[in-house]
């Protein structure tokens, strides 16, 4: 017990002494700190992109909303449903009732080109034909400017994210799609969900323009509660009049976002792995230099009766401290620069644009600090062992 207490005291003494001399070695210390800060900053930035994308695509998805597509279709654009099929979707039990009847929202989904703000080249913007039910099936659709489109007229409302990402979508502006002109009459929010990247208009107008007759691409069905989903799914799949695939909105959206998210994460981690290796070498360099600069001091301590282990511990503590300071700096810089940074990318599943904001989450910062501790740990361990192993006499003799 007494030996342990003495060990702790020795560790404290050596570590405190070390940390007091950091300022004298500020150039070298800065190298280790900035090395780690660079790695953590890049890691947090890249992964915050994936987090922001996921939040938009899956954030507002619900378990009590069913997405109905034609059997075999993996995305709205390759699905087709007739008016008759839509009518059948209302029959099974479990469909929730809204202000104007059952909450089944038949929808048309097409893509139009709009120039992306900042680059000026065309991007695939989703244009959705909806009926009144669409506003109730989803959560939190709110007009923040202007009004809703009037049925039968060439009017559109635009999600706030789309309005900020693509040209010509401010309230009052008109866009040309084919030979028709559409007036932007409102902007809406959708609780941060993917609908905010879309343009909405009246289904009938869109059907006419795209010569779709009375057909739709997909339907969203709001159920009374999540437990009703299984029964509803079975009812549709067993109905001989239908050939459809049914998923919960959550499952559908998760599948939509998965390819992009996996892609960003893999790429991000490859970059981070390489940067980390570089940073480990920088940290090793710093700590070897720190140890060799204090070889005599360490030897003096050893001569005074300090054990080897406290020397090891003190070097490790210093290296880990550099790691943490670096992680905090890198994480903070990334947060300041990128949190909320707006970007838009293509969703591979639907081939349409999704506008999103980078999200620096606490979880990412924790991952950053963990990574920094690993880098600091490896960077400190070998120099620490080296320092403890040096012969006292040899080190004392050095100039």
């Amino acid at each position: 017990m007494r030996r342990f207490a003495s060990f702790i005291r020795q560790c404290q003494a050596v570590s405190l002494y070390n940390l007091q001399t950091v300022w004298r070695r500020r150039g070298l210390s800065a190298v280790a700190i900035f090395g780690v800060a660079g790695v953590v900053g890049v890691m947090v930035a890249v992964l915050s992109m994936a987090a922001g994308f996921r939040a938009v695509v899956t954030g507002q998805a619900r378990d009590d909303v069913a997405v109905v597509l034609r059997g075999g279709a993996t995305a709205e654009s390759s699905s087709i449903l007739s008016r008759e099929e839509i009518a059948v979707l209302q029959e099974p039990p479990g469909v929730a009732r809204g202000s104007a009847g059952l909450l089944v929202s038949p929808e048309l989904f097409v893509i139009i080109d709009r120039p992306k703000i900042g680059v000026g080249t065309d991007a695939n913007v989703p244009l959705r034909g909806v009926e009144a039910a669409a506003f109730e099936v989803r959560d939190g659709i709110e007009l923040v400017e202007g009004r809703r489109f009037e049925p039968g007229r060439n009017e559109i409302i635009v999600g706030v994210a789309a309005a900020a990402a693509f040209e010509g979508l401010l309230v009052g502006e008109t866009i040309d799609v084919g030979r028709a002109s559409w007036e932007v009459v409102g902007h809406f929010t959708a609780g941060g969900g993917v609908a905010e990247s879309e343009i909405w208009t009246d289904t009938r107008v869109l059907q006419q323009m795209y010569q779709r007759g009375n057909s739709y691409n997909s339907a969203l069905v709001r159920l009374t509660d999540p437990a009703a989903f299984e029964e509803y799914e079975r009812a549709l799949e067993n109905d001989p009049r239908l050939n459809v695939g049914v998923q919960t909105q959550r499952a559908y959206q998760a599948a939509q976002s998965a390819p992009m998210e996996v892609f960003i994460s893999i790429l991000g981690w490859i970059i981070v792995a390489m940067m980390s290796a570089g940073a480990v070498f920088a940290a090793l360099n710093t700590m070897y230099a720190a140890v060799s600069a204090r070889a005599r001091e360490v030897a003096t301590l050893r001569a005074l009766g300090f054990a080897r282990l406290p020397v090891v511990v003190s070097v490790m503590i210093e290296s880990l401290a550099f790691g943490i300071v670096g992680a905090v700096l890198g994480g903070a810089a990334s947060w300041a620069l990128f949190d909320g940074f707006r970007a838009s990318t293509i969703n591979f599943a639907s081939f349409s644009q999704v506008a999103f904001a980078f999200q620096v989450t606490p979880d990412l910062l924790t991952q950053g600090i963990t990574l920094a501790l690993v880098i600091g740990g490896i960077g400190g361990l070998f120099p620490a062992i080296g320092a403890a192993r040096r012969s006292v006499v040899g080190a004392l003799r050095e100039p």
Binding site: A30, I111, K116, I271, A279, Y288, F351
Partner: protein, 386 residues
């Protein structure tokens, strides 16, 4: 004593430090190589685009169809050599995850339009003889283990067969193409348009987009404008642009990859300058006495400066070269692995040259301040430190 001996002695003075600095610079340049590959993969073939080719699509979006009759109309225009159409098929082989592009084409026209493509005479003949014949790029054939003669079922997501809704289309593989152009897309599956048009259940006579060859690349923009004018006020207006501009626009849809790559490299190189600069500075600080001695025995200030600069160049630049070499080796391994997913993932010669230049520049910048310090050192003062 030659300068080389002195530099080599200086680098061997603290072997661990030299090794660690060397290694961190190696990783920086390895990253440079890998990020350059990623940027090239995301540029969607901008660098490979044919200068004399235009892409003509529906003005509303790429996903809207155009009449097949446009082909003949465009070929009448002055400046147009040839027009050829493609259509997004969007079929699935076994699993929706197995993504690759398929398109119906008119074989002879397609092969004329893309001379980059290498396909054997035998395959060409069999393609003309086989109604449901298809050719596929080497990368996709290897990915699924397909061989010439195989029957390949492709499940439609858009194009159903007349009278056989929801049944898979069956294609007979008549050839496997490749390209000698590095980074060229070897993933596509191409089958005959006549078979496609007769078999599909809707949309007959409609195609996805056109590739148009012009006789003078200098006037490509002019021809593009005349094509768009030709179809103005028709039911399907067009948007025409050079292949490179089309590819760049498509790349922009992903996001500003160039900016992301440049920012990351900026962070990496800032750190590297800091790390190696500091190491060099420390090394010079430790050798103040020795440098004083060199000056005392007649080395000029300029020569001392050059020595330190060359030391830095030797260390940093050779590490940079080595990192680039590793990147090139990695590229050779990774490129065939990813050819079926990211055809453009390869290390471009241009990027290697930029990397080499960057390695020399980094070596000079890192050595600059320590070299100046060594030059300015007052001999008497330095000798006291011996």
């Amino acid at each position: 004593m030659s300068s080389l001996t002195l530099i080599s002695a200086a680098l061997r003075r603290k072997k661990a430090r030299t090794f660690l600095t060397f290694s961190s610079v190696v990783f920086a340049f390895l990253m440079f190589g890998v990020l350059s590959m990623i940027r090239s993969a995301f540029s969607m073939g901008v660098d490979l685009a044919g200068e004399d080719r235009l892409v003509v699509r529906h003005r509303v979006s790429l996903f809207q169809l155009l009449p097949q009759s446009y082909e003949a109309d465009m070929e009448e225009l002055p400046g147009v050599v040839d027009a050829m159409h493609m259509t997004w098929f969007g079929g699935v082989y076994q699993d929706p995850q197995n993504f690759f592009m398929q398109s119906p084409v008119v074989p002879a026209e397609y092969l004329d339009m893309y001379p980059e493509i290498r396909l054997s005479e035998e395959a060409r003949t069999r393609w003309i003889e086989t109604r449901n014949g298809a050719v596929v790029g080497r990368a996709t054939a290897e990915r699924f283990g397909w061989e010439v003669g195989d029957r390949v079922p492709i499940q439609p997501t858009i194009w159903q067969q007349e009278g056989r809704e929801d049944e898979a289309w069956e294609f007979e593989l008549v050839g496997i193409y490749h390209s000698d152009v590095e980074g060229f897309d070897e993933t596509q599956m191409l089958f005959r348009y006549d078979f496609f048009d007769e078999t599909r259940s809707f949309g007959r006579g409609q195609v996805g987009w056109y590739a148009v060859r012009v006789n003078d690349p200098e006037r490509a923009a002019e021809v593009a404008a005349s094509i768009d004018r030709l179809f103005q006020n028709s039911a399907a207006e067009t948007k025409s642009e050079p292949e490179g501009a089309f590819a760049a626009g498509f790349a922009n849809q992903m996001g500003n990859i160039g900016l992301i790559v440049t920012s990351i490299l900026g962070a990496v190189f800032f750190t590297i300058l800091l790390v190696s600069g500091n190491t060099m500075a420390q090394s010079v600080r430790e050798r103040v006495g020795e440098i004083g001695l060199l000056k005392a025995i007649g080395f000029t200030a300029a020569r001392v400066q050059r020595l330190v600069l060359f030391e830095s160049l030797t260390l940093v630049t050779s590490a940079g070269f080595f990192g680039l070499l590793l990147a090139a080796g990695l590229a050779a391994v990774v490129q065939p692995m990813f050819a079926a997913y990211m055809p453009g993932l390869f290390l471009q010669g241009r990027d290697i040259f930029i990397g080499l230049g960057l390695a020399v520049l980094t070596g000079l910048v890192v050595g600059f301040f320590p070299a100046r310090r060594a030059m300015k050192l007052r001999t008497a003062f330095a000798l006291r430190r011996l």
